[in-house]
């Protein structure tokens, strides 16, 4: 194969994706849809790209990183709260959708075997799609986000169990009671083992180990990725999915004080790898026999888009959650998964179904993923419409929705860089009665300060967002890093927040002024003035 195959493929993928994203920029289409469109263009339409092993590897790394991020975002306590509803809804939906899909397919005239495959394929919903969108909306940590993540993890386990049975279909020995319990025991035993490893490490090992590298970003990133991959591989060895492994690795690092900074650093990597995943998903679509199945495609897509949320609404309102939470959770599951394609391809390989079924599942996949991306992106608006029209009255519930979380700070002062100047400023400003948010990369430097703190590098806009920059009344940088100071000035100007920057040396003044800093802190000038004051005090000057 061509030595530059990888670069060439990545080139096609990234350029096509960027073109679609830029063209669609103002339309605000979900990036997933853009990626799928780019993939459809590169694969089925133009045939420019074929998916090889290494692209597949990159796509898998993308999924692992995404779930690692989810784990980092959610600590175990947050997930435990939603355990019951996740188990009930997760299992309930699998049973309902599989049965419903099977029935509809039979009615539409498919053979029993084909109907079984269609039913199961429709059952999987895509963790990757949903989590990606929730992450984009920054709502992973909301109540409905957590329930959704919980449900997907339960479904992941259900899928593993289902696959154990399916493997049994081909191998009579494994179908015996002993074989089945061995398979199930392995899955649950492995899960318990990994979970225990994650929790023990989180408690006894990781805090100490990671504290040692906390102040240098490079080892921190590589070590945590390495930790993630250890779990992914262990999960594979134990017969679990890579998603579960990566998620548990993330969970075990979530309680570290710099987990947010770690998230911000893993995020661009994940975006890169995951773009490859989604585009390659589009590339692999085959629509050979799709036309002959136009009617089933529409009917089954509608079933996934409407039926799935319906059954979820039903189960979740019954477990005591409010209508809003139930609705938002339910909307997330209205799509089938990349795994459905793999599953269908397995069926094709064993000769149980023909390729028209595979392309039918492909069409349903593209339609439901695209449509549900919009549904998730505009879920709050959708809820508004549904509740105004009274559609949701049929679901009775005793549960209440959580009141909207208090929004962040306003009118506060942000101080970046906890060197002696930064720390002193935080102290003096707090004494003056200001609300202060201190920002630094090093957790140690933030210790013992009044007010609240954000750990992270101010080079990342997300850090400034976390400090509610747009609503701040003043942004101060005490840093002695020219590039960051100029960037901070620029962000401040852009958002209309006054900026005061430490001009630690004469050589940085011109650029800061040109960028539009409102005020400069001349530490050298004031320092020299204080020397003069000291000389006056001891009588050298009068």
């Amino acid at each position: 194969m061509d030595e530059l195959y990888l670069l060439r493929s990545l080139g096609y993928i990234l350029i096509a994706a960027a073109v679609v994203v830029v063209l669609a920029g103002r339309l605000r289409i979900p990036s997933i849809v853009a990626y799928l469109a780019a993939g459809l263009f590169l694969g089925p339409v133009s045939g420019l790209l074929t998916v090889s092993e290494v692209i597949h590897l990159i796509a898998e790394v993308g999924i692992a990183l995404l779930l690692f991020l989810v784990g980092l975002e959610l600590s175990l306590d947050r997930i435990r709260d939603v355990g019951r509803v996740a188990v009930l809804a997760g299992i309930g939906q699998v049973v309902f959708t599989a049965a419903g899909g099977l029935l509809i397919a039979m009615v539409l005239g498919f053979t029993l075997m084909e109907s079984v495959f269609l039913g199961i394929a429709l059952t999987f919903s895509s963790t990757v799609v949903v989590v990606k969108l929730l992450d984009q909306k920054k709502e992973l940590d909301s109540l409905y986000g957590r329930i959704a993540v919980g449900i997907f993890l339960v479904q992941d386990l259900v899928v593993i169990v289902a696959l154990t049975f399916l493997a049994g279909l081909g191998d009579p020995d494994a179908l015996s009671a002993a074989g089945l319990s061995l398979g199930l025991g392995r899955a649950f035993g492995g899960m318990a083992l990994l979970l225990a490893a994650a929790l023990l490490a989180a408690r006894y090992v990781l805090p100490r180990v990671f504290a040692w590298v906390a102040d240098s970003p490079e080892p921190l990133l590589i070590w945590s990725l390495c930790w993630c991959f250890i779990f992914v591989i262990s999960a594979e060895v134990l017969g679990l999915s890579l998603e579960i492994g990566a998620f548990l690795a993330g969970i075990s690092l979530a309680q570290l004080p710099y987990s947010h900074e770690l998230q911000r650093r893993v995020h661009p990597l994940m975006n890169f790898f995951l773009a490859v995943f989604f585009v390659s998903l589009g590339v692999q679509m085959e629509f050979g026999g799709a036309l002959e199945h136009a009617v089933p495609a529409i009917v089954l897509s509608l079933f996934v888009l409407l039926g799935n949320p319906f059954i979820f609404m039903f189960i979740i309102t019954k477990t005591g959650y409010g209508r809003r939470t139930s609705f938002l959770t339910s909307v997330t599951v209205a799509q089938i998964s990349e795994f459905s394609f793999i599953f269908a391809a397995m069926g094709l390989a064993t000769g149980l179904i023909d390729d028209s079924i595979l392309s039918l599942i492909g069409v349903i996949g593209v339609v439901t993923i695209a449509a549900s991306s919009y549904m998730i992106l505009y879920n709050h608006e959708l809820y508004g419409v549904a509740s105004r029209t009274g559609l949701l009255r049929i679901f009775s519930t005793a549960g209440e929705d959580p009141s909207p979380a208090a929004s962040g700070s306003t009118g506060h002062v942000i101080v970046v860089g906890m060197n002696a100047l930064g720390r002193r400023l935080v102290e003096l400003l707090s004494e003056r009665g200001e609300t202060v948010i201190a920002v630094d990369t090093d957790p140690h430097k933030l210790e013992g300060l009044p007010g609240s703190a954000v750990i992270g590098s101010a080079d990342h806009f997300a850090v400034l967002e976390e400090a509610d920059l747009s609503r701040a009344r003043l942004l101060i940088s005490a840093l002695q890093i020219e590039d960051t100071n100029i960037l901070l000035t620029w962000w401040g100007r852009k958002l209309g927040v006054p900026v005061s920057i430490h001009a630690f040396d004469q050589s940085v003044v011109d650029d800061l002024e040109a960028t539009g800093a409102n005020h400069l802190i001349y530490s050298k000038n004031t320092g020299v003035q204080r020397i003069a004051a000291e000389l006056r005090r001891v009588g050298v000057l009068d």
Partner: protein, 527 residues
């Protein structure tokens, strides 16, 4: 997946070792790769190859993004002189040494190119940890590094085509220049438009950056240029402010990730050189280590730097670059050098990078200062008694000097900046050119007989020699961090906390500004 995990584990070990031993990361990542290959757990060759390729692309791309002349500040001229001198003279010495060691001309050229640049990644890391990025000498060193990166990238397209004859080499250079032109157009007009107008989210921003990278890689291939040229120029087209700042946040972790894989994979793909190869590597490393410091020192001093900062620059630049490895990889890909020569280049790089932290110390600088002619010309001011000794007097110190002089004090200034000394002498203020941390200079300035010493020197540790020397004389010292202030008080000095002074002044300003309204407040503070 397993292969990737192994590579990542190797990188994790390398980075851990680097942190533990306080050494630069690159050589230890390479060593970790070598260890993987010795333990025979290397991932499949295709994965290594792909990691090398992707890593190289991102590494060069990011150095293009970092190519910002702003960082060099007013040191541009000096950086140009020092950078070019080091690049070409060291390259020349490398060529002669390689030919003398028995390499053929084609191979010697690559070795020379590999020796001629210093490592941006290593040096910037050291400068940052010592907080010297924005000292004049730090800016000089950064300018030198940026220039050398640029020169290497521009020369690779020419050198790889030398075997095809002079015309091909010139065509290569011309194509590289054409692509550079396109990069400048993109830099000036296109990327600012995309990044600031389209209001993309993080994901969109990252995609645009990567699409530009791969578009340039494609163009480089069309123009028959090496990939590194495309990657570097793609980076350059993103290097304008504010694009570079926004991009850097998105690209940094990608580059950290791929760079770690790159150096580990590189270590894994090395073959052990023969004994003769080891000896050759030793000789060439010695050329870098011995020739760079005096060469840089001389040129930097001619360009107006103080003796101490010129020596510091020289010591800091005495290593080969990550770009040397990239030169080697390109040559290997074109079949112009063999594995043995590539291993020699890697060996030189590992050795010189590991030695850098040990060479570029304060102690080494002072040892070399002893040989410096500047100190021989010191004129000891026996005549001075009860004077005020002012150590360091830049723009900010001038008002203080004037106040002291007009109050009738006899003031002697010590400063290492030739421009400052010249100005003072014109104003007929007695001044000594030299370093205030240098005991010889302090003795010549009659520090022990002064009625007061004021030190505004930049680095905290510089005050310590002074305090030990002038027991009994009151010493007022500039410091920034409270810890340093404590150390000064302990030795009997009076620390002035610039940080606290600035904070107090800031709060005063804020109280005033709040009266007029903060939004309307613009530059109320005097310059």
């Amino acid at each position: 997946m397993a292969g990737l995990a192994i590579l990542l584990a190797g990188a994790a070990v390398g980075l851990g070792l680097a942190r533990w031993l306080k050494l630069p990361a690159i050589p230890l990542l390479i060593v970790a790769g070598v260890l993987l290959s010795l333990a025979d757990v290397l991932p499949p060759a295709e994965l290594l190859q792909d990691s090398l390729l992707l890593g190289l692309t991102f590494l060069v791309f990011l150095s293009g993004v970092e190519l910002s002349p702003r960082r060099v500040g007013r040191q541009r001229r000096a950086a140009l002189q020092v950078g070019a001198a080091q690049f070409f003279i060291l390259g020349g010495l490398g060529l002669i040494a390689s030919l003398a060691l028995g390499f053929a001309l084609a191979q010697a050229m690559y070795l020379a190119l590999a020796l001629s640049a210093s490592s941006t990644l290593v040096v910037v890391r050291i400068l940052r940890s010592r907080k010297q990025m924005f000292e004049p000498f730090g800016r000089l060193v950064i300018g030198v590094l940026l220039l050398q990166d640029l020169l290497v990238i521009l020369l690779i397209p020419a050198v790889v085509r030398v075997p095809e004859g002079a015309v091909a080499a010139v065509t290569g250079l011309a194509a590289a220049l054409a692509l550079t032109g396109l990069a400048l157009v993109t830099l000036r007009w296109i990327t600012p438009l995309i990044v600031t107008r389209l209001s993309l989210d993080d994901e969109g921003t990252l995609l645009v950056a990567l699409a530009i990278l791969f578009a340039y890689l494609g163009l480089a291939e069309l123009l028959n240029l090496p990939l590194v040229a495309g990657a570097f120029l793609a980076g350059v087209s993103l290097s304008a402010f504010p694009v570079s700042g926004i991009m850097r946040a998105q690209l940094n972790s990608l580059s950290d990730f791929f760079a770690a894989l790159f150096f580990t994979a590189l270590g894994g793909s090395l073959v052990l050189p023969s004994l003769a190869g080891l000896a050759q590597a030793g000789v060439l490393a010695a050329v870098v280590l011995l020739a760079t410091p005096p060469l840089v020192t001389m040129v930097a001093e001619r360009a107006g730097h103080s003796a101490r900062s010129a020596i510091e620059s020289g010591l800091l630049l005495a290593q080969t670059s990550e770009f040397s490895l990239i030169v080697g990889l390109q040559a290997l890909a074109f079949g112009h050098i063999d594995q043995e020569i590539f291993s020699i280049i890697a060996l030189i790089t590992v050795a010189t990078m590991i030695l850098t932290p040990f060479i570029s110390t304060d102690r080494a600088t002072w040892r070399l200062m002893a040989f410096h002619p500047v100190r021989r010309g010191l004129h000891v001011r026996e005549d001075l008694h009860d004077h005020v000794l002012l150590l360091g007097c830049g723009d900010n110190g001038m008002p203080l000097l004037e106040t002291l002089v007009s109050a009738g004090h006899e003031v002697l200034v010590v400063d290492d900046d030739p421009a400052v000394i010249e100005r003072l002498r014109e104003g007929e203020v007695p001044a000594i050119r030299g370093d205030g941390a240098d005991l010889e200079v302090l003795r010549a300035a009659g520090a022990t007989r002064a009625r007061l010493v004021i030190s505004t020197m930049r680095r905290p540790q510089d005050h310590l020699a002074l305090l030990d020397l002038v027991q009994g004389v009151p010493v007022v010292v500039r410091v920034f961090e409270p810890d340093d202030a404590a150390a000064i008080s302990l030795r009997g000095g009076t620390p002035i906390l610039y940080s606290h002074a600035a904070a107090d002044e800031f709060v005063r300003w804020l109280a005033q500004a709040d009266k007029v309204g903060l939004d309307r407040e613009r530059r109320a503070h005097p310059r």
